[in-house]
């Protein structure tokens, strides 16, 4: 089923290879940036992928890339399709799709705040969403270290004892290793 849809769209939109390794009914496909909007419109209006499940980003810092994932769902055929879009990490500007799915505006607001990916034209995208008074780099980027930030902000209580969970679990679970 997924293969048929992919074959219909593959050549028109120069899609990457179909990745069906994870589970039945779920596939991921790479996409080029200029085809994002036509593919989404085609999937929504023709192929029945009417439900935008989520829109999120993955930080591949070693490749200097952000991966935007658009997950769509076709309820009738019980198919989930993830579109992967790669953005340059240093010039992270995405394309807003809030006119296709109004709810995407919320996701884009979160990505703007948590990854620093700009979505020009998306409503209220520059307003503070979750964080308040945040001056550091966007926290979901890989180079932001939450433990270091926490230790440089707050002090631990004196007399706090930590038992390394790794050692403890090793004793309990794998005493022979």
């Amino acid at each position: 089923m997924m293969q048929a849809i992919y074959d219909r769209l593959k050549d028109r939109f120069q899609l990457g290879a179909l990745d069906v390794r994870s589970r039945k009914g779920l596939a991921f496909v790479d996409l080029r940036r200029e085809f994002l909007r036509p593919v989404l419109t085609e999937l929504r209006d023709v192929e029945g992928f009417t439900h935008l499940i989520l829109l999120t980003a993955v930080d591949w810092i070693e490749d200097e890339r952000f991966q935007l994932t658009y997950l769509l769902n076709n309820r009738q055929k019980n198919l989930d399709l993830g579109l992967r879009l790669r953005l340059d990490r240093n010039l992270a500007i995405g394309e807003t799709i809030h006119d296709l799915w109004p709810t995407a505006a919320t996701y884009q607001r979160e990505l703007r705040e948590m990854f620093g990916i700009a979505f020009p034209g998306s409503p209220r995208v520059d307003e503070e969403f979750i964080l308040e008074g945040w001056t550091d780099m966007p926290p979901y980027r890989r180079d932001f270290d939450t433990l270091a930030y926490s230790q440089q902000t707050h002090a631990d209580r004196e007399g706090r004892e930590t038992s390394d969970p790794r050692e403890f679990m090793k004793q309990i679970l794998y005493p022979k290793d």
């Binding site: 008074g133 926490s150 230790q151």
Partner: protein
């Protein structure tokens, strides 16, 4: 658990820009008057809190303390996940009302601020404001391990670790999350403390006001309210 990045340095230089709606401006009222507005000013009072003396007679103070202990009004402000165990307390299974514990919806009428779990920095700001609006003597109870030392969220960038650096805490109830029975036991401990006259958090807050404010401002970068807001 991944190791910490030793090269990471927190950005301490960037100042948070003042919000547009908080800048002083001129406003034309509906009847044509032009008035200056400074949103950061509190028009009633900005003076720091005062230390309130106890009653002159010890027996009166003891009686008052007994009454305060037997009539704890909790502010219905669920700051974190611990709030979910507050609800069983109001209902048939545990019924805290029989111990004189009631819930009030407004900080003006409440005496006890339950910090029910971790505080994110955004909520900390509201919790401070709420605490300052309450009328003394007032008490703070920290609920859950995350108020004691970060608990589950010890490495999170957005939650505070030690609550007593920001508010004068009378009592901690440990656990993640504490059971209703633990909460009831905690209330009983708090009552003992109040009856013994040791729960003077409001006065402590007034005495060490500068220290508390410095701590609060260290984590809340966009401090855009008066220093003391009653």
């Amino acid at each position: 658990m991944k190791h910490m990045d030793p090269n990471f340095r927190k950005d301490t230089k960037t100042e948070f820009p003042q919000r547009e709606e908080l800048k002083p401006r001129k406003v034309t009222t509906p009847d044509g008057q032009v008035i200056d507005i400074e949103p950061l000013q509190d028009y009633f009072c900005q003076e720091p809190p005062k230390v309130h003396q106890k009653s002159y007679f010890k027996i009166v103070e003891d009686f008052y303390n007994w009454c305060r202990a037997e009539s704890l009004w909790i502010l219905a402000f669920g700051t974190g996940c611990g709030a979910i165990e507050m609800r069983p307390l109001m209902t048939p299974r545990f019924d805290a009302y029989r111990y004189g514990i009631q819930w009030r919806a407004t900080p003006r009428q409440a005496n006890l601020l339950m910090i029910s779990g971790y505080l994110s920095v955004k909520t900390l700001k509201r919790a401070i404001r709420t605490y300052e609006q309450m009328q003394g003597p007032k008490y703070v109870v920290g609920l859950g391990s995350c108020t004691i030392n970060g608990g589950m969220y010890w490495d999170s960038y957005n939650t505070i670790k030690k609550l007593e650096e920001y508010l004068p805490v009378d009592l901690y109830i440990a656990g993640c999350m504490p059971r209703p029975e633990a909460l009831l036991a905690g209330f009983m401990e708090l009552k003992k403390k109040i009856k013994a006259g040791n729960a003077e958090g409001a006065n402590k807050y007034a005495e060490k006001f500068d220290w508390y404010k410095a701590n609060q401002k260290a984590v809340i970068k966009d401090w855009d309210m008066p220093d003391y807001n009653w």
